[in-house]
Symmetry: none
Subunit: 192 residues, 4 copies
Amino acid sequence: MSLQEQIKAAAIKIIAREGFSHTTADKIAQEAQIPLSTFYDNFTDKEEILDDLFTSEFQKRYDFYVNIKNWHMDWFLKINGILNFHLQEIQKEPELATIILAERMNSHCRERRSLSKFSQLSSIIAAILQQAIDEQKIRPCNVEATSLIVFGFLDALIYEFIMTKNLDQLQQAIDNFCLLLKNGLGKFGDGS
Amino acid sequence: MSLQEQIKAAAIKIIAREGFSHTTADKIAQEAQIPLSTFYDNFTDKEEILDDLFTSEFQKRYDFYVNIKNWHMDWFLKINGILNFHLQEIQKEPELATIILAERMNSHCRERRSLSKFSQLSSIIAAILQQAIDEQKIRPCNVEATSLIVFGFLDALIYEFIMTKNLDQLQQAIDNFCLLLKNGLGKFGDGS
Amino acid sequence: MSLQEQIKAAAIKIIAREGFSHTTADKIAQEAQIPLSTFYDNFTDKEEILDDLFTSEFQKRYDFYVNIKNWHMDWFLKINGILNFHLQEIQKEPELATIILAERMNSHCRERRSLSKFSQLSSIIAAILQQAIDEQKIRPCNVEATSLIVFGFLDALIYEFIMTKNLDQLQQAIDNFCLLLKNGLGKFGDGS
Amino acid sequence: MSLQEQIKAAAIKIIAREGFSHTTADKIAQEAQIPLSTFYDNFTDKEEILDDLFTSEFQKRYDFYVNIKNWHMDWFLKINGILNFHLQEIQKEPELATIILAERMNSHCRERRSLSKFSQLSSIIAAILQQAIDEQKIRPCNVEATSLIVFGFLDALIYEFIMTKNLDQLQQAIDNFCLLLKNGLGKFGDGS
DNA sequence: GATGAATGAGAGTTCATTCAT
DNA sequence: TATGAATGAACTCTCATTCAT
């Protein structure tokens, strides 16, 4: 692991625990066991780290979303896949997930470029739903509004995880959500 | 409007614009056009204001939720009523809504007592759903998980408002969500 | 003496001794025997002090120059008056004179607004000379170029004072300079 | 051009632009396109560069002054020659001239050995004047004080150049100054 | 000799909070 | 009760300088 990666890892730990605004460059440096000035040799400031996190996290999600969108597979399994992808990620890097959620809402972050890309993810969900409508797998609906539901659920999932750390419940919640979506959007009679 | 209320109103303005962590007692005092020390005569610190906001906002929501829960009315209209209640509140006090959403996610706030109560709201939704199940209006489901969906959607709604300020779209999204819920949870055949 | 004036006096001491660039807000605060934050309550930064010094010094000089320009008196006595005015000032506030000279040359100061006004002083000298030409007291010459000579001499005077602290020599130098000017500019035959 | 000369050239650029105190070893290294540590292999610190500049500049001036002092030529042409020598130098290396002027005034530099030699230049001018007096070319005067005038004018010239970059005006100013000197110091009747 | 990386010391600035009046 | 002023503790960031390779 490169020094930059070490610093980033330390930053993730601190930011997840104390929040970005209470994270000081000094705390990160201490956690990474480097002098403060070494921190500044590697990053212009702590903002840069957050931008890095947002950017790489966005890319990871984007790549997965686009990939799954193009699979030959039922719309419903795609949404399910995306939700489960996130569940995996939460388990692998719970701190990172926490940060992305918490800081995304922050007024000071809402103007970040690195954050503005996240809205593209919603568009991919919308595209998946539109495809399903075009193929008459689900009844016509407002796809933007529906993808909002999916995203809201995702965030609620992560928030729930932060608060309860209960993964089983999350799995159940996902299944429950998918069933709701299937029944709510699907065309009567064909069960899809 | 009492002095305390004036100060609180000033604080809401600043916190919504700059985020709680970038809000200083001094900025609030300046916005409220009072000397800094008068601020400290009325509040122990800026944390207290945030707690006040959380507490009163929780109470307002709680009162409404409990009230609507006890109405004699279809489960579905109750959920719809709650969502529309929030839509009204967003319009009336957009800055307050922004703060509650943004700061609720903040790791430093997650330990606040004033915030922990918010989970009770979820329980009321769950209770409304349970009632509907008991009365065989909807098919059995995990009510906690489902109320998570409602709350996730609510937050997504507010976030969307913050980012786009487009209220029409929100109304559409609510209708879309309610339809999904009705179809997804309702028992086949009775359309409820 | 107000607190601000105390701080300014301390700043003058430090800047004269160590140069503006080696002057830190902390050193000024220590000299003024106040906490560092009190310094920042009274000035936005150390630049502001320098600007204040430049501005008030310019004003003092400007007022004197304009005043003497309008006296009914030989051109030659006016120039002499200005030089002696500076000699008095150097004696009264040698540190201030040092600062104005040293920092005026500084590349970082050359862009200051508060400094740019100093060129107006040169214009007043030029005007005094022009008057003398119009009244045929001195032979025609390039007044801007000549006022440059006066100013160069003034700065040299201050520099000499900084280096040698020998006031007697300065007085002699002034007399010598005035004689040179009188002889050099005056019209032959009338001795003025 | 040797590596040391390259570094010095880079340093001159930076110091002239940003002032010595805002010049960092790092900036010089970057401008010279060498690693920072190479800078420290060639100079003990940035002070050494400034000393080098002062020393070589002094030497260049000293050599010229001494040389011209010994020519068989009118005193007046010697002074004129010196002034024109400086005008040439300003044109050739404006940045260097800027630095010598600006940093010479700096209080931190006033204690430099490399700088203290500059006062010797004044003595040469004084010697030229004394010679002229001895040879009864000019009327007796305080030669130290008069050489102060010459030096003040020189600095004013360079300062004017820094501020206006107008070389034509400088040439005029020199001619004007020489005329003043000739008339002011010369013995009446012989016009010298 | 050349070089990338490391690092301690310090400068500039902010802010929560107190206190005398 | 109201208020201007004071203050210490933190935090961000910079830079001269060294050192291992």
